[in-house]
């Protein structure tokens, strides 16, 4: 192709367009706040899961956890982009240039990778929650949220399948694997409650399922899995986590530091 026939559209513009998943939809302030909450959940979990690549117990798990992280990053991009249409920010600005108190992730998603059992237990809880959430949100009166949810739920179904299979395998494996998944579930269980708390946003915004309405379907699934694995439901107290209002666990700061350092050190850098 000669210089004269080079495209008149520059690739940078096009990538920006593509990045914006251009639906032409502009979020309302409430849609944006909601999208940030569930988008930050996925973004933080994606960032954490990436750590496992090259460190998982077997190659297949490097791939599995890396693929799950990639899906979650895709969900986060769609949600942050949508939120950004209301806030006048790009998804990158929202991911890299918000400070800790501006994030809306719940504490469960901020819990550390721990050992493989902890990553699986956290994945079981997050995927069971996201599956019910996106199933209901796909019916939302908000076309922006419904479209993202309908797309995401198909991928989350595979994440849940992965977590359930590993929970069953670890519980039914050796004494060591069983004690690890038991301990991991006990350590992770307290962070479920935060996911089911309604607040002022849900009083005025009815285009998303109320968190309290998700409790029963999510807990039903988790109890089925525990029964199949012959594990007891952990009897733990509830965490006072309040990530939806910017009050985060101590784990979020270091996660953000690692995630944001490059973009902040070299603003507007591209490659």
């Amino acid at each position: 192709m000669s210089a004269e026939t080079e495209p008149s559209v520059t690739v940078t513009d096009v990538e920006l367009d593509a990045e914006l998943t251009s639906t032409g939809l502009v979020a309302s302030a409430d849609e944006a706040e909601y999208a940030l909450r569930i988008g930050d959940d996925s973004l933080i979990l994606a960032q954490q899961l990436g750590w496992w690549i090259s460190r998982a117990p077997e190659l297949e798990e490097d791939l599995a956890l890396g693929n799950i992280a990639l899906d979650l990053l895709g969900h986060a991009r769609n949600l942050l982009h949508f939120a950004g249409t209301a806030l006048g920010k790009t998804e990158d600005e929202l991911a890299y240039f918000r400070d800790e108190h501006e994030f809306r992730s719940a504490w469960l998603f901020e819990q550390p990778n721990g050992d493989f059992g902890h990553t699986i237990a956290r994945g079981l809880l997050t995927s069971a929650f996201q599956f019910e959430l996106y199933t209901q949100l796909a019916e939302s009166s908000s076309p922006g949220l419904a479209g993202i949810a309908a797309k995401s739920v198909k991928e989350v179904a595979y994440h849940r399948d992965h977590a359930v299979q590993w929970t069953l395998r670890l519980a039914g494996g050796t004494d060591e694997s069983r004690s690890r998944i038991e301990r991991a579930l006990i350590n992770t269980w307290p962070y479920l409650d935060e996911l089911f708390r309604d607040d002022e946003l849900h009083e005025r915004f009815d285009a998303a399922p109320r968190p309290s309405a998700l409790r029963e379907p999510v807990m039903n699934v988790l109890r089925q899995v525990l029964a199949e694995a012959e594990l007891d439901e952990p009897k733990t107290s509830e965490s006072s986590g309040d990530g939806r209002h910017g009050h985060h666990s101590t784990y979020l700061g270091p996660i953000l530091a690692e995630m944001q350092v490059l973009a902040r050190r070299h603003p507007d850098a591209s490659w």
Binding site: M1, S2, E4, T5, E6, P7, S8, V9, V11, V14, E15, D17, A18, E19, T21, S22, T23, E60, E61, L63, A64, G66, N67, I68, L70, D71, L72, L73, G74, H75, R77, N78, A128, P143, A146, G147, I148, A150, K151, S152, K154, E155, A157, Y158, R160, D161, H162, V164, Q165, V221, Q224, V225, E228
Partner: protein, 165 residues
């Protein structure tokens, strides 16, 4: 100078865009995949609508760039690619010829919608090499977002399965 002979119509734009291939599975075109959703003229521009396969699939940006390069090379001066999430892409949109090309390429094509429920149930997947149904899932996550990793218990070869979506 390249001599332009393409007639610049939406139909010719579709034909050109339809030949762009998936960079990760180059036997499949974006039309085979069901990713190419719409081509229309808007004033002097061509607007191509693609739908992503997986939310995080890194091949999508490449497909968008390749559509623009293919169309501009044929004389369309102003090309825009939109990505639309709705209606949600499904492997049920994959063309029959696409499924055959996948299998010949060594990737087991997607099957029907699996039974739903929190406790997974496995469905038989045919080995693309020896045709045996004696296969097992090694992992639902493979070399790309859209593929699962399988193993044939008859010929003992590992293979990729384009999983239902």
């Amino acid at each position: 100078m390249t001599i332009m002979t393409t007639v610049l119509t939406p139909a010719s734009a579709w034909r050109i865009a339809a030949e762009v291939v998936d960079p990760e599975i180059p036997v499949l075109t974006i039309e085979d995949l069901g990713v190419l959703r719409d081509v229309r003229m808007q004033d002097e521009s061509v607007v191509v609508t693609l739908t992503p396969t997986y939310s995080g699939c890194p091949a999508m940006d490449q497909m968008g760039d390749d559509v623009i390069l293919a169309l501009t090379a044929e004389g369309f001066a102003d090309v825009r690619v939109d990505f639309s999430l709705t209606p949600t892409w499904t492997t049920e949109w994959m063309s029959e010829s696409g499924r055959q090309k996948l299998e010949q390429y060594g990737i087991a094509p997607p099957g029907p919608k699996p039974a739903s429920g929190p406790i997974p149930v496995q469905l038989g997947v045919k080995c693309p090499r020896c045709g045996s149904l004696r296969t097992r899932s090694v992992s639902q996550f493979g070399s790309t977002s859209c593929k699962a990793h399988y193993e044939c218990l008859a010929c003992l070869e590992p293979f990729d399965h384009f999983k239902f979506h």
